[in-house]
């Protein structure tokens, strides 16, 4: 017990006041003048009241009230908070936050953290309550204890380093919610972590209420080298019917030590295919390019691995690779085309390898069912052969999932059959007015064709001038994707069966507009063709803690997943089989481990296993630490004042201790109650005397 204002205890000397009052007050409050005390002094018995307390309860009440008042103003507090907790509530409650993000696997950090957690539990008494919370990106309760802390010890021993990144926010929030429901006065959060800077942005908005303390226990590992494979890139080249893929790995040295003779190995389907030896300067980066290999339609599992260092989790990088989706494009031009009407189109589609466009240009007279075989997209460049066999072939092609782009130029003619395919009808070309050029005025940026242009400085579609266009009247206004500034339709879409039809109301050369001369032309054409060809960019790897929709992944690969029939099962990198549940349209799978997940459909007629490469988030490899005191201060709103060895203790100042305990309030209330009782009692006594 200590006092914030001990000098005020001198006021206890004033206890003599009520004593004197009791002894003398009633006689002295009234003085009677008398001629002579000659006879009164002869009386041996004068006033017995002066020499003894007349009402002990009243006297004791006054003394007690006075003592309580003095004590309250002296601002007492208990210095030994543990004994206080035991006195008041019989114990304390702590929440042990144990960081198990994969950076804790660095060197012997995890072992240190387990030891620190056990030591913390050792300090608990039988009346104390402990909760172990294991956290990385998310937080979960590992164990709770009451009288016996064995369950917590066991949970600490069972806990393993995970594959996710550090996030302090959820863990602190969980600890807060646990302790806010606690009835203990002594509540404490012990945070055991390597305190990575990436784990705390400062925007978490976690704030502990008064009475909850945060004690950080930073775990510090030995300073060792750490090289991280941050990403792998692929350069694809068409090679016969397959692709030739060159793998380029990017490595970062996260430590301040130079790394020499580092072996970097490329494994494909579990076999080492190439190894290189490199040096990386301190805090430097390196790119390692391996010889190309051929990839067919089958999925190939690859891993780039480096020799072991202090942090194992970022020494490997998994990926899956298969031949990229080739988009076969058939350009159909009029029988007597303008000389270079398809020039810009062909050149635009010849550029790029994600995907690789395979283009063929024919005249409209050569269009038939056979030539449409294997095509993904047909571009009718200034022609509209919707009547006759060619028309039927096109309808069937689109209905089966093909894409059709109709470019309305000078030569195109309207036939009634066109209304079966196009989203509307077109008329004669508008007059070319040099003074009133048109521009694109409205674009539906939510459509896949235009979403890449949505971001600022990602392509200005309105820069192109349109001198002529064909008026196009849509049957469904919602099918319009772009309009000219005068309100006329520029691009419209219609869905037939599983395929799409797009109508461009001007040309894709330089006769009716100068779009082909603008930088936005190439991505615009690519987006049109990708959309019509249903191109999905292949995902070579995923990141831990991602949640994937398996159904959509199957759909992208051309398979329809049916839960009841296919009975899909995921096999984790650790070999555990996880039944996948959900609905037919949404089947979710959480990726918790680094490595290769395999999804099997044992119930399907043909089991098509799907491999998913999962890598840990590389931001965790950055081991830069933050100041634990800063974190504790921002969460508790109080300063951390003392550092003890490696452990940062949240020592409270006398002001803080007194402020938190606020014993003076209880004393003041007790004093007021006593004074009230004293008033009632003394009033009763006064009335009785009268």
């Amino acid at each position: 017990m200590a006092f914030l204002a001990p000098l005020l205890l001198l006021g206890l000397a004033a206890l003599a006041v009520p004593v004197l009052l009791h002894l003398t007050h009633r006689e002295r409050d009234q003085v009677v003048l008398f001629p002579s005390l000659m006879f009164l002094e002869r009386v041996p018995y004068r006033s017995m009241r002066r020499q003894k307390i007349r009402n002990w309860p009243l006297f004791l009440l006054r003394c007690a009230a006075f003592i309580l008042l003095i004590l309250a103003f002296a601002r007492p507090f208990f210095t030994d908070t543990t004994s206080l907790a035991v006195t008041l509530n019989g114990g304390r409650e702590i929440v042990l936050l144990l960081d198990r993000s994969y950076s804790m696997g660095y060197s012997d950090r995890w072992q240190q953290a387990q030891v620190a957690a056990r030591e913390e539990i050792n300090t608990l008494g039988p009346n104390d309550l402990a909760t172990l919370v294991l956290f990385e990106q998310r937080a979960e309760i590992g164990a709770r204890s009451s009288v016996n802390h064995d369950s917590v010890y066991a949970a600490i021993a069972r806990a393993e380093v995970g594959a996710n990144i550090t996030r302090f926010g959820p863990a602190l929030q969980l600890a807060k919610s646990i302790l806010e429901q606690s009835e203990f006065t002594e509540r404490e959060v012990v945070l055991i972590s390597d305190f990575q800077k990436n784990g705390w942005s400062g925007d978490e908005a976690v704030s502990f209420e008064d009475g909850i303390r945060l004690r950080p226990l930073p775990i510090d590992g030995t300073d060792a080298s750490n090289v991280t494979i941050t990403s792998v890139a692929f350069e694809r080249e068409p090679f016969s019917a397959a692709e030739q893929v060159t793998t380029v790995a990017r490595l970062v040295n996260q430590s301040d030590l130079n790394v020499t003779n580092l072996l970097v190995t490329l494994e494909l389907d579990g076999r080492e295919v190439a190894t290189q030896q490199i040096d990386i300067a301190a805090s430097g980066t390196a790119m390692v390019s391996f010889d190309p290999f051929i990839v067919g339609e089958d999925q190939l599992r690859g891993t780039v691995r480096i020799s072991d260092d202090a942090l194992l989790q970022d020494n490997m990088f998994h990926f899956t690779v298969s031949s990229g989706q080739l988009v076969s494009v058939l350009i159909v031009k009029p029988d007597a085309p303008t000389l270079d009407s398809s020039l810009y189109l062909e050149n635009a589609l010849a550029v790029g390898n994600t995907p690789t466009f395979v283009t063929e240009t024919i005249t409209v007279r050569d269009l038939n069912t056979d030539v449409l075989e294997g095509r993904s997209v047909v571009i009718l460049n200034d022609t509209a052969p919707f009547d006759g066999p060619a028309g039927n072939a096109l309808v069937n092609f689109v209905g089966a999932g093909g894409g059709l782009l109709a470019v309305l130029g000078e030569s195109v003619r309207w036939t009634p059959e066109a209304s079966d395919v196009l989203p509307g009808s077109f008329g004669a070309p508008t007059a070319r007015l040099s003074s009133r050029n048109n521009v694109l005025g409205y674009v539906d940026y939510s459509h896949p064709v235009f979403d890449v242009f949505n971001a600022p400085r990602s392509g200005d579609l309105s820069s192109a001038q349109f001198f002529q266009q064909r008026p196009f009247t849509v049957t469904n206004p919602e099918s319009v994707l772009a309009r000219f500034a005068d309100g006329s339709v520029a691009l419209a879409e219609r869905r037939i069966g599983q395929g799409h039809v797009l109508v461009w109301a001007s040309t894709l050369d330089s006769y009716w507009n100068d779009l082909a001369l603008k930088p936005v032309y190439l991505p615009f054409v690519h987006q049109l063709v990708k959309h019509l060809g249903k191109y999905v960019e292949p995902i070579e790897w995923h990141t831990t803690a991602q949640v994937l929709d398996v159904a959509s992944m199957y759909a992208a690969s051309g398979h329809q997943l049916e839960l009841e029939r296919d009975d899909p099962v995921a096999v984790t990198p650790t070999g555990v089989r996880l039944p996948i549940t959900g609905t037919d349209s949404t089947v979710l799978l959480e990726l918790a481990h680094q490595g290769f997940y395999e999804i099997h459909t044992p119930g399907a007629v043909v089991d098509v296993p799907l491999a998913l490469a999962v890598n840990a988030d590389r931001s965790e490899s950055d081991l830069t630490t933050l100041d634990p005191q800063e974190l504790a201060s921002s969460v508790t709103g109080r300063a951390v004042t003392e550092r003890l060895g490696n452990l940062v203790l949240h020592e409270r100042s006398p002001d803080d201790a007194e402020g938190q305990q606020a014993l003076w309030r209880y004393l003041l209330v007790a004093a007021l109650l006593l004074l009230t009782a004293e008033t009632v009692l003394s009033n009763q006594l006064s009335q009785r005397v009268r």
Partner: protein
Amino acid sequence: MAAQRHTLIPGASFVDPKVLARIENLELVARILVDGFINGIHKASYLGVSVDFAEHRGYMPGDDIRRIDWRLYARTDRYYVKEFEADSNANFSVILDVSKSMGFSSGGLSKLDYAKFLAASLTYLANQQRDRVGIVTFDSEIIERVPPSAKHLDVVFHTIDRAIAGRPGLLGGPLLRMTEFFKRRGILALISDFYEEPDTILRAVKQFRAQGHDVMVFHVLDPAELEFPYDAASSFEDMESGERIPIVPENLREQYKKLIEEHTSALAKSFNEQRIDYAVFNTSTPIDYALFAFLSARERMARVR
């Protein structure tokens, strides 16, 4: 004038002291009080030149030979001297205690006021009898002295009027010094509250008696001093010494009354033995009634003597 009828003496009307307190003119007060009295109720205490024959006595050397009754010498052949009774021109002095305790009042007239009225009445009465009147006021010392004279009535009244109770009092010293003033025998009226031991008081008063003075002692007390009617426990402060003692009156009232009664009884007994007239005057009692009762008793006693 308000008056109240007292049952002790039927037919006599007496004046309430509270009413007298409102009258500022002391002479008027005295006249009101005394006018109903019998004129010349007292006789001269010694023989003088008068027309009334008193007795014959044998001639002694030194006697004036003119006072020899020659007719009786002729009949008896012995020298006799004729003596006459003198009924006036006696010296009458009031000895008034103006010590601080005399200023006490429990609600009505203070003891000093009462004593003033008493002194004024007696002086007026004496003056009516053609006595010489004088006064001495004292506390622990002699404060003022007016020698007896037939012309000093106004001065005496004025002196009485000015008297205030200011300082602590003492009987022995002042009274001893007063014996030097009263060479000629006369009548002395001592008015005090007598807060001293009876022996001390008697020793002081006895000197006057030894000088041959006719001494009347008036013991003035407030009703509160006689009855001690206090209830609340209080600090009692001595008016003269300032000393305080806490008192619970209910516990010592009876003892106090017993002590004060013993005190007055002792005084009465001692004074009686010395043939000194003594009376206790309660300030709640009408002055004229008390005066009348006292003088009546004195008259009766004088006849006995």
